[in-house]
Amino acid sequence: MDAGRHPNIELLDYSEVVEVNGYVGNFQARIKRKPRYIHSDLCTGCGLCTEACVLRGGKGKLMVPSEFDEGMGTRAAAYIPFAQAVPLKATIDPNSCLWLVKGKCSKKCEEVCGTNAIDFDMEESFLDIEIGSIVIATGYKMWDPAQIPDYGYGKSPNIITGLEFERLTNAGGPTAGEILTAEGKVPEKVVIVHCVGSRDERAHAYCSRFCCMYSLKQAHQIKEKTGAEVFSLYIDMRSFGKDYEEFYRRNREEGIQFIQGRPSQVTVDPESGKLFVDVEDIQLGQVMELEADMVLLATAIEPPENADQLASTFGLGRTPDGWFAEAHPKLRPVETASAGVFLAGCAQGPRDVPDSVAHAGAAASEVIQLFNQGVVTIAPTIAQVDEEKCVGCEECIHSCPYTAIWRNHAQKAEVNPALCQGCGTCAAACPSGAITALHFTDDEIVAQIDGLLKLAV
């Protein structure tokens, strides 16, 4: 909200970076601005277009499943994604709007709009900007629990993910904050399953870090709002942060039953619709079957689908689990291998809100530091071209992982010292020996080889 109002921050909503060139302090980015069919500068966020949208079924109910409500609520084709959206502007969904899909609609929204903000002829446009540094804060996506059928996700509307439960318990959600089963009843028995897809080699080997805490919060809310019997099935309780362990203790005192063990399966009784969770309590060494009205799955998080494309646009490395790679796991957790490009939040790996805020703050101060200094310090181990020897074959240009080399006006290779990280791959690839990797020159390495082999082993 504050970022949206800040005079020095320009928000480019509905946009995508398609191309980045240049180097630290001198990036050029090409940004695709997708059409929202509503002029942001004219829209006041009044919501009249949403009310006027003709896309309604019986009893005037809106027809498009709402992404924000995890498909549990509905929205119009002209809509504001959610009440606290930044910027608070309406948009028209081109995949459901009757006019945009079929070319047939009475376009009531256009009639009611007081500022004539609606423009169905809007097309995507491109914006070229010059920027000094980049922060990647692209976040995560929820892993789909249907990928492991044991959890029964999709077999019953009462087996829901933690995020779906968040909509149920939210006062602005589809049930106005009442925790109800799909049949509209208050649940009497609820089972919460931790580590669904996390710490599981069938899906993700890593710990998603924040699910333990939100599951505890949800257990507490269920207990408080419905008084239901709550079972929490966990592998290890990772309540690692400040005041977190205390909250876990409070949960236990409230009578929530914690069972250490990962369930083997969740089954649905076809007649009654009751859910049954099979689990072994490893502390008792006993296999048990829990009956439940509602099962909550604390699903893993994973990198978003377009992480591949982002990695190639911004020159980012990725760790084997798919998250963007930091320059050093302990000492440089916000920098990337590309100078001037920083990571914030879950783009780098799972972390909870306080950690994400701290990480983003660190990324911002890295940027401020760069801007204040106005100069960058680079390692001395970079590549250098001897123009006399260079024949301009471009072998080095193809070998460089950082696109730090280009062909200059003299048709010779030239290294951008701000981009070069000094791996020396170009020096090894150069057929004419024109490139020297400073401090790791051919002569130095050959002298080491000769010197070592002269020694008797």
């Binding site: 051919d442 080889i449 000769d450």
Partner: protein
Amino acid sequence: MKKPFEPKVVAFLCNWCSYAGADNAGISRLQSPANILPIRVMCSGRVSAEMILRAFRAGADGVMVLGCHIGDCHYINANHRTVKRIPLLQKILGYTGINPERLILDWVSSAEAPKFARVTADFVDKIISLGPIKDELKVTHPATPVSLPVEEVVS
């Protein structure tokens, strides 16, 4: 009694993974053979064919190139170059009369100290079984004509 053959093996270790892995092996007190002569380079992609040939010419009985695992390279994908370069060189080594098995490429991350100890020990054993490179080069015979599958080399 004849002194047992102690080969000289040059190992090119990348600064970020394998060199740190070797360091880690030392700290963990894992035994790795003293025959290994380590040379630190910033990236396994820095190791050119000339350096490897130079090592053989200077009397190395074997050469190892150890780098970061694919996808784990400190320099985004510089080790993809290594993957292309080393097998190509292995094919060419056969022509020069050097057994291609005297050159290996492997991945050792900084956390894989036991793997470092294992691959170095295995490679030294292999070189001992192959014998000194001098003996191999003494045998004068015309290079065996090997048909080089061009497509494979280009890819």
